[in-house]
């Protein structure tokens, strides 16, 4: 059964900490006990192998035990966090959710039955093999969210290889491929996860100090906020060994500053795609954006500058979109990359590329350069249509302290001119007070026309 290997690991680590939640610590024995209770509860509630069950919660001990029991039962699990509240109804409908287990802030649970019948052919494939499934939603930054179905028996296979044991903070969300990866990596090594309710720099730093966190998996946007907040000065973060980052392009200035602030921490780029899973990756060094990705079960190739991946544990398909794989089974990531021997550098999403009179501009590169400037808190680079050159590069900037718009614009353009080709220099500069990241700590880039 899909989680038997985990139960074996739990049994070996019975008295060890498994989860720190709301200031309380739960050990692996607690998880084992609760897991068996959940198996019984699931059977008694009418949930069958193959049922689609929405797990509404976060990394709470009870939700994690239920998650494992649903997998063992052979259910299709749809994790949803409160961050998805605006899309919840739509997503439950798309996933054909038959039941919801709703976990409250105090980790109490409510079972709801939905009027849906799970009849999608992808579920049929899984049911036939008696495999549990996982449904995740793409962020939908470009259009409608896609419902991605994974075969959990295959996805969990890579966790059967034992790796290092680290106390890890679960920053990435429960319904995100990176969050799922963090959870199963920790459980499969008998490690402890430290959960946080509030993902602000202050709360995260406090949790690191209090619970001796060793691995911090975050997004570059969060690292920017951490640098600007200077909260790292107020806490003892010496337990940190690794900061892993992914989900969006890392600005060079942010990486450099992080390496200065955390000289004893190894900074690693992670590469996860909801459709493919998280690949093993190795950064050239802590200050380098060059990364080697792959690992067992993954092959990579670059076609027309775009990264393609073939994975044994790739999703089986979308519930609400056509199959995106090439005939020979490769997945087009849509990520433009530069290649240097075995290393790759992620330039940005092909869909976010700005075409200025035939020249390509990736917003992330320009944002990285602007972020090097004094008095810049946050920046988003986007395109506006222009009849002369097709599109023009625009920058929306939030400043730390007030500065005259004209003076700042001149300063920004001169800085960019010294670092970038002329067509990459923003033409229009807008100063804003708005924060430019989503609740999921990813950059909002929906200004593009």
């Amino acid at each position: 059964m899909a989680v038997d290997f985990l139960l074996k690991i739990f049994a070996e680590n019975k008295s060890k900490d498994a989860i720190v939640w709301n200031g309380n610590t739960f050990n692996y024995q607690w998880i084992i006990d609760r897991f068996h209770e959940w198996l019984a509860k699931i059977a008694a509630s009418g949930i069958q192998p193959g049922s689609v069950v929405v797990l509404e919660g976060d990394y709470s001990p009870n939700a994690i035990a239920a998650f494992l029991a649903l997998i063992q039962t052979g259910c299709m699990v749809v994790p949803l966090t409160d961050f998805a509240r605006n899309q919840k109804e739509e997503w439950i409908e798309v996933a054909q959710g038959e039941y919801s287990l709703v976990f409250s802030d105090s980790d109490e649970v409510k079972l709801l039955k939905h009027p849906n019948v799970a009849s999608h052919e992808l579920y049929g494939i899984l049911k036939k093999e008696n495999h549990p499934g996982l449904v995740l939603f793409s962020s939908g930054s470009t259009g409608k969210s896609k419902a991605i179905v994974h075969d959990l028996a295959k996805l969990l296979k890579k966790f059967q290889v034992r790796r290092k044991n680290f106390r890890t903070l679960t920053f990435l969300l429960f319904d995100h491929i990176g969050g799922i990866d963090t959870l199963f990596y920790s459980l499969s090594n008998g490690s402890c996860i430290i959960t946080v309710k509030d993902r602000s720099p202050q709360a995260v730093c406090q949790a690191i100090e209090q619970h001796q966190v060793e691995v911090l998996p975050v997004s570059p946007t969060f690292l920017n906020l951490l640098i600007l907040s200077e909260e790292y000065r107020n806490y003892d973060l010496s337990s940190l060994k690794y900061i892993t980052y992914g989900a969006e392009v890392m600005p060079e200035a942010t990486l450099k500053r992080c390496a200065e602030i955390f000289p004893n921490v190894i900074l690693l780029q992670k590469f996860g795609i909801t459709e493919i899973g998280t690949l093993r990756s190795k950064s050239e060094n802590s200050q380098s954006l060059w990364v080697k990705i792959g690992g067992e079960g993954y092959q990579t190739r670059v076609v027309n500058g775009i990264l393609q991946i073939k994975a044994e544990s790739a999703m089986i398909g979308y519930l609400n979109a056509p199959n995106p794989f090439t005939e020979d089974g490769w997945f087009d990531t849509g990520d433009a990359v530069e290649v240097k021997g075995e290393y790759l550098k992620i330039l940005g999403r092909k869909s976010e590329m700005i075409n200025v009179g035939g020249e390509k501009v990736y917003p992330a590169e320009v944002e990285g350069v602007i972020q090097e400037m004094e008095n810049v808190a946050d920046v988003t680079v986007y395109a506006e249509k222009n009849p002369l050159i097709g599109n023009m590069v625009c920058a929306k900037v939030r400043l730390l302290n007030e500065e005259d718009r004209t003076a700042f614009t001149i300063r920004l353009k001169n800085h960019c001119r010294s670092r970038l080709q002329p067509y990459k220099v923003p033409v229009k500069v807008v100063i804003t007070n708005e924060s430019q990241h989503s609740e999921r700590f990813k950059k909002k880039r929906n200004y593009t026309i």
């Binding site: 009179g357 222009n386 009849p387 002369l388 050159i389 023009m392 718009r405 004209t406 614009t409 001149i410 353009k413 001169n414 001119r417 002329p422 067509y423 220099v425 033409v427 229009k428």
Partner: protein, 102 residues
């Protein structure tokens, strides 16, 4: 009613801002006869786009009116409104009038 002289002074403000980021050989002179784009003009296409967008921003800052200078209408004029400082100053009131009647 915005006077042509007021518009020229606003265009000069835009020239100051654009000059601050242009290389020495592309600096624009503050004169109504200065060629913005075309024969004997110093700006390349990116320079012109910068000049246009900066002028739009200056008009908004000075008069509180948001206009788009470079659009299909501008491209379809018999005489390019972006030829000289003077032709630009003569084109802007048309846009403002249209905007006010829209």
């Amino acid at each position: 009613m915005i006077l042509k002289e007021q518009l020229i002074s606003v265009i000069y403000q835009a020239i100051d801002e654009v000059n601050a980021v242009l290389p020495p050989d592309q600096q624009l002179e503050k004169s109504i006869h200065t060629v913005l784009f075309g024969e004997s003009g110093k700006l390349d296409s990116l320079g012109l786009v910068n000049m246009i967008v900066t002028t739009e921003q200056k008009i908004e800052e000075n008069f509180g009116i948001a206009i788009t200078l470079a659009d299909e209408k501008a491209m379809s004029q018999r005489n390019s409104p972006f030829r000289t400082v003077e032709s630009l100053a003569e084109y802007i009131p048309q846009l403002i009038t249209e905007r006010q009647h829209a």
